[in-house]
Each structure stands twice: as C-alpha cells, then as structure tokens.
C-alpha cells in the first residue's frame, strides 16, 4: 500500500525523526491557517500517489499569505499524471545547507533489507544509481542482528566527516530501519534528508510503501488508505479475494493465477485484441469468487466479450462452472462467453456447463480462446 508523504512523515515523526512543522490541508482556508501557525515561508506540496509532482508544478514555496492562497488554490484540484490533487501538505520551508539521501528497501536478490545512502539527495536516486553509482553506498542488513550502531556509523561517515553530524545521521538511519521493520514496509525513504542552515537535520520528503500482506498487523494504517476511484475498485476486489485491474480494452478476462492472467492479456494483444482487465480469481476454489469476478467485469461498460481461461490446479473446474451458472442465474449477462477449462475436475466442469442452457463457446486452449474472444468482441459469431 502506498501512503502519502504527510502520512509517512507522521510515522517518521513518531519514530523520532525530525520533520518540518506542517499539516495537511484539503482547502485553501486550512492552508492559510496552517501557514499562519507555523510561519512563512512555507512549502506547499501536492499529495498524490505518483512521482514527478515537482516537475508537474505540484510543489511551490509561498513567501506571503497571498502566495499561500494562490499556490494552494492552484495545486488543489490540479491534475498530475491523471490524478486529481485533493490534499496538500503545508510545511515550514527549511533553509537548506546540504541534501542527502537515506533509504531502506527489501532486496529480493539477497532476501534482506538494504540500506542506501548518498550525498546526492533531493534528486531521483535511480538517476544517481545510473550516472554516478559510486555515490550510492549500500549496506545489506543481516536480519539476525539488525542495523548495528557501527553499521550506521560506517555509512554516516560516508556522508560527513563531522562526528556530530555523523552521529545524528547514524541515529536517523537506525530510526529509519526501525520504522521500516515496525511498519512492515518494503520501502522507507527520506529524500532529501537535509542539513539546514541552522545545522539541524530534517526529513524534507518522506516515502513509505507498506507490505499489503502485513497490513493485518497494522489496523491503524487502514485509515491511511487513500484511493483513486480505480484503486477503490481494485481494493474492493482484493477484499473479495480477487486481483482486478481495469484496462482500456473490450475483452473481459476471468483467469486463475497471476501468471496465467498476465499471459492471457499478452496473448490477446499478440493476436490483435484488447484485454479489458487483468483478473485473477486466485488459487483457492470457490463458486462465489466467480460471481464476484463477473460483478467487477460487468461494471466495465466497454466489455464486449467474456473469456474464462481456467487451468485448474488448486482451483477446481467444477467450482468455476457452478459459479458461472449461479452468476448467470442472478445477473443478466448478454455478452458472448468463451470458456476454456483444463485441469482439476475438467470433465465435471464441462459437463455442468454443457448441461446448462447457456450459449458458451468452448475452446481447447489459450490461443484458440484469444482468437475466439477477439472475434466475438468485434461482433463476430
């Protein structure tokens, strides 16, 4: 789960990491009152779940009350890469002496957390990694011992030679690592981590990505969920055990398994069609899931044909067939149906569907299915 900068800053603040004073606002009045409270100049930053908001004009420094009003008004409601800005963070502007980068991520290649630090803060760290990799210092944490004091100190000495600064940076690194662990994050990042003109260190920007699988341990994070309409649908689907992502096309797909679902899309495109969605009904078998899946599919008015591409394993073909029958009984489905059933209880599933009165286009494999679905979605018979 992605959370906003202001939410990540709340988490960092609780962990004892210094962040600039500030508050989130959803309207101009709140922006003005916050700026009065914390004092000018302030930085006004769009809170959207997408990168590059600075370049898009979503970050502005306001030096006067008039500017606060003006910029808050401009940024609220702004469209950034298709997302509408509904919240802004109004924070005390910090006089910057130096900008550093501090981050913790889960490294899949070692199955361990990695700490990354760089003197090149405030810019895209992936750009730094490409252009000047020697400026990024990495340390892989042994989870049996955690980030020990000397690990943090050794990293901090790469960023400063002043021992007071080094201790401060090292302390922040340990807090950052602890935050990463305690929040079950897959990424916890401060960019830039700033040494201010008056020699304090601040987390000027903050990013935390949470592990969806671990959210059950953090019921308090649930309220941080801020979804676009599209994400809301995906989330709702997820709560029903489905992975659903809406796309631009017209062939609605119901598939079991993420890899097969992606491949289903790939194959449709390969043959010139357009998938309307990614939809994985998951591993465990349950007729209700099929009904839920059709519910989501049918919300998309662009869908012209529905394709069930099922390769049974833990999923049983008969469960899929029963679910489909039940769903058709309850909902009005007038779209052409392409069905491919293979694997566990395949015969049973096919029998259930054959015995029904449904007009189903049975196909033997994925490629046949893709071709049939494309033909039908284009009005063919």
């Amino acid at each position: 789960m992605k959370i906003h900068e202001y939410q990540a800053k709340q988490i960092f603040k609780k962990a004892g990491i210094l962040v600039p004073e500030g508050d989130v606002a959803t309207n101009i009045e709140k922006a003005i009152s916050t700026s009065e409270e914390i004092g000018l100049p302030v930085v006004i930053k769009a809170q959207v779940h997408v990168g590059g908001r600075g370049k898009a004009g979503g970050v502005k420094i306001a030096k006067t009350p008039e500017e606060v009003k003006k910029f808050a008004g401009e940024i609220l409601g702004m469209d950034i890469k298709g997302l509408t800005v509904k919240k802004i963070l109004v924070g005390k502007a910090i006089d910057i002496q130096r900008e550093l980068y501090l981050g913790v991520i889960t490294d899949r290649s070692t199955n361990r957390p990695v700490i990354m630090v760089s003197t090149e803060g405030g810019v895209d760290i992936e750009e730094v990694a490409k252009k000047t990799p020697e400026k990024i210092h990495r340390f892989t944490v042994d989870p049996a011992y955690g980030l020990l004091v000397h690990h943090a100190m050794n990293l901090a000495f790469k960023l400063s030679s002043d021992v007071k600064e080094v201790r401060e940076i090292a302390s922040t690194l340990q807090k950052l690592y602890k935050t990463y662990l305690d929040s079950d994050a897959s990424l916890a990042e401060i960019n830039p981590y700033v040494l201010s003109a008056d020699s304090n260190f601040y987390a000027i920007d903050a990013k935390i990505v949470l592990d969806d699988n671990a959210l059950f341990r953090h019921p308090d994070y649930e309220e941080m969920r801020d979804l676009t309409l599209e994400e809301k649908i995906e989330h709702e689907a997820k709560e029903k055990g489905l992975s659903y992502i809406s796309m631009e096309g017209n062939i609605g797909c119901v598939v079991n398994g993420a890899g097969l679902a992606m491949t289903t899309m790939d194959v449709i495109k390969h043959f010139g069609g357009k998938p309307a969605n990614f939809l994985d009904v998951g591993g465990s078998s349950d007729p209700q899931k099929v009904k839920n899946a059709l519910h989501f599919l049918l919300m998309d008015e662009g869908v012209r044909a529905i394709w069930f591409n099922i390769f049974g394993g833990i999923t049983r073909c008969d469960d899929i067939a029963s679910g489909l029958l039940e769903a058709v009984g309850e909902m009005e489905i007038e779209l052409p149906l392409v069905v491919r059933l293979t694997g566990t209880n395949e015969e049973e599933g096919k029998r259930i569907l054959s015995e029904s009165s449904l007009d189903i286009h049975f196909v033997r494999n994925m490629e046949e299915g893709a071709k049939a679905a494309i033909r039908l979605s284009e009005g063919g018979g």
Binding site: T106, R108, S109, N111, R112, P113, E126, K130, D142, P143, A144, L181, D184, S186, D211, D212, N213, A214, F216, R217, S243, I245, M247, V255, N256, G257, A258, G259, L260, A261, M262, T263, M265, D266, V267, K269, H270, P275, F278, D280, G282, G283, S284, F311, G312, G313, I314, T315, T342, G343, T344, E346, N365, M366, E367
Partner: protein, 292 residues
Amino acid sequence: MGVLVSNDSRLLVQGITGRDGSFHTHLMREYGTNIVAGVTPGKGGMVIEDVPVFNTVVDAVEKTGANVSVSFVPARFATSAIFEAVDAGIELIVAITEGIPVKDMISVMRFIKDKGARLIGPNCPGIITPGECKVGILPTTVFKKGRVGVVSRSGTLTYEIVSYITEAGFGESTAVGIGGDPVIGTRFVDMLELFKDDDETEAVVLIGEIGGSDEEVAARYIEETDYPLPVFSFVAGRTAPKDKRMGHAGAIISGGSGTASEKIKALEDAGVLVAKLPSDIGKFLKEELGEK
C-alpha cells in the same frame, strides 16, 4: 529420481487437517507420493487419509523419519510452520501458502541459511517428479515423465506451458513452481544449478514474469557458466501496465527494472530462446531437441 523429490522422499503435510491440506493429501497420495505424517497442533493422534497426525513436527520426524514437508498452514502461522520444520531437521520445505508478510520471510530465510535446509515458495504450487511423486497442488494430468526440467515463478501458467511440453512429445524430469513473492526460498539460479548436475535433465524451461530481477540474474548465470543445457523461456506480463501489482507481490514493475522486455532481452542475450506464445515452447523443443 527428480532433483528435489523422488520415491525416497518421506513427506510430512503441515496443516493436514485443513480444507486444502486434506484435499491435496488425498491427491498427492493418489499420485503415489509417500506421505508418512501430518501435523496440526492439537490433532495429534488423528488419522487423515490413512496418514497419522502429530502435534509437532519434531514428534512427527522422530516417529516417521519424514524428510520433506509441504505446508498448507494459513499465512499468519505459515512462517512459524517453516521455522518448526527447519528446526526439526526437515531438509526440504514446500510452502504453498500465499499472503505471508515479507518481513517474516526475511527472518525465515536467515534461519534457513543457518540451518542449511531448502525452501520452495512460499505462494507456489510445489514440485512434481512425474511418474514418481508430487509435493504440492499441481494438476498431475498435464505432466509426463521425461527429460525437460521446468522452473516457474507462476502456478497455472506452469501447467499451461507444461501441457505444450508434454503435447510436443517431451516430458518433465522435475517441474517446480518457485513462487512469485519478493522473498522466496529458491530462485531460478538455484534450480538451474540442480538441473545442470542432473543426468536425467537434457533441457530447461524457465517461466518468468515481470518484477524483480531473477530472470536477469539467471541470464547472467547462464552466460557466465556457459550453461551446458539448452534453456527455453517464456516471460509473462509483456503487456502489463507499469507500476501495477499483478496479483502477487513479486509482480511489480517499478522504475527502470523488472519489465518483461528487459528480462527477455537479458535472456536472449544469454542465448536463451524466448517464446512469444506459450505454445512456442513446444515448437522450440521439437526444433532444438528433435521430434520425440
């Protein structure tokens, strides 16, 4: 004699009394797998599908000599089950469970490194040595004893592609789904190493997907070791939108890495034939290894 499990494997089922656990115990036994024990705390003394149930893995191992385990334990208790199996001396653990928090898996993997066990998964369909034994949930009908090693990050896509391998007249020496989570116990490279030393494997099919960099790492390994077996590959997600999570945690493309096109390029640069359609795999095999 597969590279991971065989007739000699003495299987323990963790979570045997659950819905999935008992169902697949039945199917695995039907296939011929030697299941010697089940574990569910508090159900010790029961018998499920002719298999004796124990309260703890250590008990089960002591009394039955189990050396491989498969776990259907729910996500919140799943890492505990892996720890328990490793601690009891189980050499190979197959974790079917999906939805395990990454942090928990990081701890488990550290423990496994200490103890020298091997984990397959989590969030995976398991292993099959066609004609001998199945540890997991794979549908057996598509598999056939043969000489192609299959390793996949996916579940159902594996069955799909294996069906073409089998249809083309080949069979599989070992097929394994290693799981799609960010932190997994066994990766492509580990399986490539096992297949390399296996007399019964003469080609490898590697089924990848977007996210992570395991395909790139495998490509580098194939190139650097001048890998002795032909490798064929399919990578799912060529048309996936960026930055979307496609069903499981491993399948995230973010920034400039983890896309299907990069993976395909890396594999092709290493001399791997990469299929555009799943059915291509069957054709590749016929072309390269000759008709069977």
